[in-house]
Subunit: 256 residues, 2 copies
DNA sequence: CGAGGGATTGAGATTCATCAATCTATGTGG
DNA sequence: CCACATAGATTGATGAATCTCAATCCCTCG
């Protein structure tokens, strides 16, 4: 088993207490009775911070830890021999990464930070004990997994059956609603957007050149615009319609 | 909540006992101690049989049941308003269908039988009790979900980043290995294959016409052949290589 | 102020979809 | 048992969507 990555820097002091966690409503520990919350605090190995564009996991490698994201964005992806990359998911605060059934198995995806980030680490070897001792967290983990499954299936539908402009509309609309829900700022029509056009291409199965042309179309249609790492939404209803994104289902993703 | 579908015909007698289940090693109840197995027997509402091409679930509709597949093949899919369909998964004996985090929510996919099938039904309203009372089955359900997640992510990679011939090679190779592992017939180079070319297209994001031409290419390359509902593999190694399918990972899918 | 990565645009090639016609296998009713 | 109906498979011709290669531009950062 490999150790922790060198780019992950332990936060020496000022670690957030789980009971004070500002994003608890989103996270693994949502709805957990206070008296059981001690498990997370006790078993959280450490909080780590890391810079943007640092690798957290690499496919086929082993890792001792799973993480919950406290701050920042990450991309979860798989690569092919020919260098092509498929981004499976943009992971946001509250998301769990590195959880899989067999905690001793190698990672089946890679992960990289898209922004500066703070991660809460849990030792994978503690997980079996968790399943034995804490039903609430186990159930919650299952719920988060199930939500992820639904997201993944929707992406499969989008990537398999949509055109380029529909794919990008869907991708951006989903991300927009996820971010808005997490940060509770329903009034703003824009979000910080740290992905390059190449990243968008890797997430939607398009080349960066075609992404560029398609973003231009979206701009000219007055639906949305990306510039200087910001996504501005001009017509969210049309955007959702174009991308077949049902915003009412966002609450099946972000579980309160 | 909707009731059971009229096409699902209750098996009146000769229901298989869970303790005698021939596919238990694959299924939800793998590795469950005998004394806990009574839960499944007690809570299994019924075994149902159904003919090929019958709908089991419809997206957005409610269902009272989740199922484990005892016999037959099913397709799990989502559809768009324009009629396009994405097959998310081919479900085989041992697979669980209809499990999602919020058991009261509407189904987020449809399901149809591809062959005659036999399903074991469990009432969704019993699930919360299951989580409270049976850690083994809960854990097993989590493992199966996690395996499905990995399969789904691999499909996302394939559909997003591969060419038509690579997609179909991957799809067929995966299915071939899954079927071989379930039925334990490692010597045969062919399997029963009830999917039409249109089904393959819906699973890989291609039109049936392009599937036809691509199958012709695979035939001419001497890799595989589909005829009269049979998939014959001529060169499994080359097929896996072409489709970037790593057959060694099949054991992370089919958990013994 | 120069370097470098990302964004943008153009031209041409390729893959895949669409439309349309024919062929084949399978099942059904007479 | 045959004639027919039907669904799926096959092939051709054409066009659209997307990729590839190449050049230039722009912004950011040291």
């Amino acid at each position: 088993m490999a150790d922790i990555k060198p780019d992950l820097i332990p936060i020496q002091n000022k670690q957030t207490a789980c009971s004070d966690c500002s994003i608890r409503r989103l996270a693994l520990f949502h709805g957990i009775p206070e008296n059981e919350l001690s498990w997370t605090q006790k078993n959280r190995s450490c909080q780590y911070k890391l810079a943007a564009r640092k690798e957290v996991y690499r496919e086929t490698h082993h890792s001792d830890f799973m993480f919950t994201i406290y701050h920042g964005w990450l991309a979860i992806y798989k690569t092919l021999e020919n260098g092509k990359r498929q981004i499976l998911k943009i992971a946001l605060p509250g998301d769990v990464i590195g959880y899989q059934a067999n905690m001793e198995a190698a990672m089946n995806y890679s992960a990289i930070s898209l922004t500066d980030a703070i991660l809460c680490a849990f030792s994978r070897s503690d997980m079996p004990e968790l399943f034995r001792t804490n039903k609430h967290i186990t159930k919650r983990l299952t719920e988060l997994n199930s939500r992820d499954m639904n997201l993944c299936q929707n992406r499969l539908l989008t990537i398999g059956q949509h055109t380029a402009i529909e794919k990008i509309a869907h991708f951006c609309a989903e991300l927009f609603y996820r971010v808005k829900t997490i940060y509770n700022e329903p009034e703003d029509d824009h979000i910080n957007f740290p992905l390059s056009q190449e990243d968008i291409g890797d997430a939607t199965g398009l080349t960066k050149i075609h992404v560029n042309r398609t973003l231009k179309q979206l701009r000219e249609k007055g639906l949305m615009e990306i510039s200087s790492r910001t996504l501005k939404i001009h017509d969210i209803d049309e955007l959702c319609k174009l991308g077949s994104f049902d915003k009412s289902t966002i609450h099946t993703y972000i579980l309160y």
